[in-house]
Symmetry: C2
Amino acid sequence: MIPGLLLVISGPSGVGKGTICARLKTMDPTIHLSISMTTRPPREGEEEGREYFFVSEARFQELLKQGELLEWARVYDFYYGTPKKPVMEMRAAGRDVILEIDVQGGLQVKANCPDSILVFVLPPSFDELASRLQSRGTEGAEAIATRLRWAREELRSFRRYDYAVVNDTLEEAVRKVNAIRVAEKCRPSFHGLAWLDSLEE
Amino acid sequence: MIPGLLLVISGPSGVGKGTICARLKTMDPTIHLSISMTTRPPREGEEEGREYFFVSEARFQELLKQGELLEWARVYDFYYGTPKKPVMEMRAAGRDVILEIDVQGGLQVKANCPDSILVFVLPPSFDELASRLQSRGTEGAEAIATRLRWAREELRSFRRYDYAVVNDTLEEAVRKVNAIRVAEKCRPSFHGLAWLDSLEE
């Protein structure tokens, strides 16, 4: 069984990461979109295992101590992280796994799984990102300003990623991320050629 | 201007490298298929600049001394090589360049141009390769046996390449090599984002 890829998708808030991931999953339903774990209580309308897996702080700390988290962060009073086990199980079953996480998390995943592939989604421009956040209409000016400060911070790191894709048109961005997936599965390590090994004798 | 890629395509004789390269060129006519240089005299039906650029040994040695060859080899009494200048000019103009050369040449290109991308084309099996060579009907049993010995030798090196693509069906193989091309152009170094640099201030 050829193992699945571990693909990390990061990029500033509002850049369209979620839409890209959903499209990839539609193209190939065997893709597993990983769900993060958090100690924050569920908000109105959130569902266990859809937005997050909601766990107690004791449980989170236990997993952390056991080295069972691929990446984690503390944001204010709450913890967020990616459990290692389901990711490893999916990959072992040959399914590609996508983690939609922030840059700090992505770099932790790379350190823990050097064969993971980091993809940064870039906006066509900073102004375009700002106008996408504004046109959502779900947040006030202050919240948007905070997101843009974070975005500026995250964008500084894109050169530490394996790949960067500009989300200019969604179709093009999806096509490129999928090309990265196809290409990375052509790495020599993914080829288990029994007939070739028999030639080596 | 974002520079073009330098893509090396190698693989055993009969595996279908030439057909894959021709298809890629059809998909994107801006691709430049590099033509090798040789000191061997043209054979019946060969045309200057189509199969090879035919040069004198003095000229070849001159280019070699000047470091103007990306890779070269001596086979029996003749020299073969890839002139550096046209490749560099095409890349500088933003055009992708494909070199269809053998493994020894590919590894030389990688040493001289670390940003080149090496793609190895694999047959579905050794038996399939043998039957493809036989079905060509252009060579005797002895010539085919020689090619298969060489193929066995070359196949041992495929793990030294960046990527390997099995040419099972032509469509799939072309799709994969093209995905590699698209993916490699998503490397962060290919993104010249002026707006991002202005954020860094």
